[in-house]
């Protein structure tokens, strides 16, 4: 099994190079650390405040929504739960497009407000960023909370009913302890995702008033060429992310997205018409909030779909190539690392794999640019570099899905396999791969979808005449080619979801879901 150690260590080295190595490159290139000005403090404050608020709001809304879904049976319930997984893999630029067409100054909400004589609302600035983050993370929070609810054995609710528990008692004895376990991890994950958010702040932030540290890094690097400031901000960002990630590791994190969420709990305590009405309203409102922007993308994009310029289809092909490369690289990194993690029982392995949660894609991109430029033309390597960085960024999710599954396999069959002398390829092919189908399918789908929609590193490495699809959409929006951008957004939406679905379904084939 030394081969496991070797390949695992190699994968670890690659990840370390991409995270700490690139950070070092930025630091070395930056001659002196320039001071942290008032605007930088404002960026730090904004990052923390918006992430706190976004995570809090997402959770506060997710609790009633998760409960409502857990205890109700209704047509389309499975679909709604599937939909809750969508925003996480929804390309940011697409979501922003959809949100603008709903909440923008000339969007649906403003139209309705204008109808009753009220001022249109603006989606730009602090509330716009928070709104977008809630749109992205409410579904994630709901799925995690829902998982907590469904993890409560049905017998307990039956027992509670036979003991004559009312809703209040159920909350106290069954639900609150569960929430206490699930919520801190959920909060931290969302907090971290919002803390390092870049594209949302770029598209909706609107100037120094609503700049995250991540965006400030991009600005210092790309707009001012102030590598000292970029490095300083990168350090702050890294330290923040690391601190949160470390806390998150102490808190029991909810695992993955969970399967089999389509079960519903029979709840005798919440059978009254008042409860039914409340749950119905909650579910309806949440569905509208989540579905409307996505519907708008489809409505705006469909009429244009058949007459899209060829450049969009080429960009889509490029993105597809990057996404598929990214899947291969993710597997090449994640499997050896998961194996090493299980074999060595060292949590540090998964910790290193999750470093990218703390490192920002823009610092990685900047560092890579600095490392690559003396050696070769970084723009010629834009696609492999983008695929690599995307892979590294999806590694924490991949490990979270693979490590527990592989651990279980090794616990169940490890000794048997050892006894049969199965090692290396044979063990991988005969034992791991067949049993890892589901987490692997999920990992591949997630990695492909995230990579397909990524608008981070490519912003730094942008090949001018060969953009990826998200970049092309961003450029079309920037050039006021809204119909084409809408068509592109629809293509991107469909291809991201399709990629995820194909891989994830492929992983579930022959498995009874």
């Amino acid at each position: 099994m030394t081969r496991t150690t070797a390949t695992g260590s190699l994968a670890l080295a690659v990840v370390l190079l991409f995270t700490l190595g690139t950070l070092a490159a930025v630091l070395i290139r930056a001659e002196a650390l320039s001071g942290f000005g008032p605007a930088d403090w404002a960026a730090l404050r904004f990052s923390l405040v918006q992430a706190t608020l976004s995570a809090t709001l997402s959770i506060l809304l997710a609790i009633p929504l998760g409960r409502a879904i857990a205890r109700r049976r209704f047509p389309g319930r499975g679909l709604l739960i599937m939909l809750l997984g969508a925003p996480f893999i929804l390309p940011t630029i697409v979501a922003v497009f959809g949100l603008i067409s709903v909440f923008g100054r000339s969007g649906i909400v403003s139209d309705v407000l204008g109808f009753v004589g009220l001022e249109p609302i603006s989606i730009y600035g602090f509330h716009g960023v928070v709104l977008a983050h809630v749109f992205f993370n409410l579904p994630l929070a709901t799925r995690l909370v829902l998982q907590g609810w469904l993890a409560i054995p049905a017998e307990r609710f039956r027992l509670a009913a036979s003991l004559g528990f009312r809703a209040r008692d159920v909350t106290r004895w069954l639900e609150r302890p569960m929430l206490r376990e699930v919520l801190p991890g959920t909060f931290l994950v969302i907090f971290l995702l919002c803390l390092t958010s870049f594209a949302v702040a770029l598209a909706l932030g609107g100037g120094p008033k609503a700049t995250t540290i991540e965006l400030a890094i991009y600005q210092a690097f790309n707009l001012e060429f102030d590598l000292g400031k970029a490095a300083l901000l990168a350090l702050v960002q890294f330290a923040l992310g690391l601190a949160v990630a470390l806390i998150a590791f102490r808190v029991a994190l909810p695992t993955g997205f969970g399967a089999g969420l389509d079960r519903s709990l029979r709840r005798w305590d919440a059978a009254g018409p008042g409860f039914v009405l409340m749950d119905t309203v909650i579910i309806a409102l949440a569905t509208v909030f989540l579905v409307l922007p996505i519907t708008m993308i489809a409505l705006d994009g469909l009429p244009r779909l058949l007459s899209l310029p060829a450049s969009i289809w080429w960009a889509a092909l490029r993105s597809l190539g990057i996404a598929l490369t990214s899947v291969v690289v993710t597997l090449a990194l994640a499997l050896p690392m998961a194996a090493l993690s299980v074999k060595s029982r060292l949590r540090v392995v998964e910790g290193i794999g999750s470093l990218t949660l703390a490192a920002s894609p823009l610092v990685i991109g900047t560092g890579l640019f600095i490392i690559l430029f003396p050696l070769t033309d970084p723009f010629a390597l834009a696609f492999p570099v983008t695929a690599m960085v995307n892979s590294v960024m999806s590694l924490p999710f991949a490990l979270r899905a693979l490590v527990p599954a592989l651990g279980q396999i090794e616990a169940d069959y490890g000794r048997l396999a050892d006894g049969l002398g199965m090692s290396g390829w044979a063990r991988l092919r005969l034992l791991w791969l067949p049993r890892l189908r589901r987490p692997l399918g999920f990992t591949m789908g997630l990695s492909a979808a995230l990579s397909m929609g990524d608008l981070g590193v490519i912003a730094l490495f942008a090949a001018p005449d060969a953009p990826t699809l998200p970049l092309q959409i961003y450029r079309l929006m920037a050039a006021y080619r809204m119909p084409d951008a809408a068509g592109g957004a629809l293509v991107l939406l469909v291809s991201s979801l399709a990629l995820f679905w194909i891989f994830d379904r492929g992983g579930r084939a022959h498995a009874d879901t």
Binding site: R105, S106, P208, K209, T211, A478
Partner: protein, 331 residues
């Protein structure tokens, strides 16, 4: 025997580039996004220049105007660029400080601009006046000056001075009008600002989408709507304090491997093959008025006063004003 084959192969390889050189010479020009876009001047200028240079003109879009310099600094001596086109006068001193540009070597360029040109490193290709543009059907009482703008409820979209030349233009415009009080003015203006975009295109698109009442653009922007869309609802405001002037320039990279082509391009830039494309694709005044003259609508708004800083003065003011701007708007 084997070595002979290898030698022959190497010789053939070595001979190949030389034989194809004239057809394959490529001049790489870094410029801003909207210049390169299919509706910008890029395609016309590429065709016109290639028809006379026996070369390939590669126009590379590098974000909005001011980003050009940071991209150059990032790439250092290994940059592929031979020419940088699209920074403006406000940035020429910053660009000079990078020590990456060569002198243009044109003694007395034939220009038709309202100001004299004495820069030995950068040559202008077009110019215009920054102005706030609004929709006449929506804004009834447009502000006549900066004070009225800040006191009004009108919403505006502006551009980031770190990435875009209009954003930087407004920064210096405010500085020219308010001097020491510029920071305080930005604080007063901040509640009018819907958002600050990275580039001009984003801001203008948002304005057209109705996300704001006004946008920072050019006095010539309404001409675009008039000529290209037959729409006369857009108007630009000449402020009582005067309007800031922009002169867009190009310069030659010192380490270029195509010095002659680069010189040829700079010469071409001031001829009709380039200049006649400017008014109706870049919607600016050409630096050298082409033979056919200016299209209709280009004289609609003439500022009461043209404001501009040159060279190092612009650079020094920019550094101070940028910190004021960031601090005031991050409140």
């Amino acid at each position: 025997m084997k070595t002979a084959i290898i030698a022959a192969g190497l010789a053939a390889l070595a001979a190949m580039p030389a034989g194809m050189a004239s057809a394959q010479d490529t001049l790489t020009v870094y410029t801003y996004d909207s210049f390169v876009s299919e509706w910008g001047p890029g395609p016309i200028i590429k065709e016109n220049f290639e028809s006379q240079c026996d070369c390939t003109l590669e126009l590379v879009a590098v974000g909005d105007g001011a980003e050009l310099i940071s991209r150059l600094q990032l790439e250092g001596d290994r940059t592929e660029a031979d020419i940088v086109l699209g920074i403006d006068e406000n940035l020429t001193a910053v660009a000079r400080d990078t020590a990456m540009f060569a002198l243009h070597g044109v003694d007395s360029p034939d220009l038709s601009m309202p100001v004299a040109w004495e820069n030995d490193m950068f040559l202008p290709f077009d110019w215009g006046y920054f102005a706030f543009v609004y929709d006449k059907t929506k804004v009834e009482n447009p502000p006549a000056n900066f004070e009225e703008l800040a006191d009004s409820d009108l919403t505006i979209v502006i551009q980031d001075p770190r990435s875009s030349t209009p954003g930087l233009g407004l920064l210096l415009w405010v500085k020219a009008v308010y001097g020491e009080e510029a920071g305080a003015y930005w604080e007063r203006l901040s509640d009018n600002i819907v958002t600050v975009t990275k580039g001009w295109s984003e801001a203008y698109g948002m304005f057209l989408e109705g996300e704001a009442d006004m946008v920072l653009s050019y006095t010539t922007s309404p001409a675009y709507h008039l000529l290209a869309e037959d729409d006369d609802t857009k108007a630009a405001i000449a402020f009582e304090e005067g309007n800031y002037m922009q002169i867009e320039v190009a310069g030659k990279i010192a380490t270029t491997d195509e010095p002659e082509l680069a010189d040829q391009f700079l010469d071409f830039m001031l001829t009709d093959g380039f200049q006649s494309a400017i008014p109706e694709t870049n919607w600016m005044y050409p630096a050298h008025t082409p033979q056919e003259g200016l299209p209709e609508g280009f004289e609609s708004v003439v500022p009461e006063k043209a404001l501009i800083y040159f060279g190092t003065e612009a650079r020094d003011i920019r550094d101070v004003a940028l910190e004021e701007w960031r601090a005031a708007l991050s409140q």
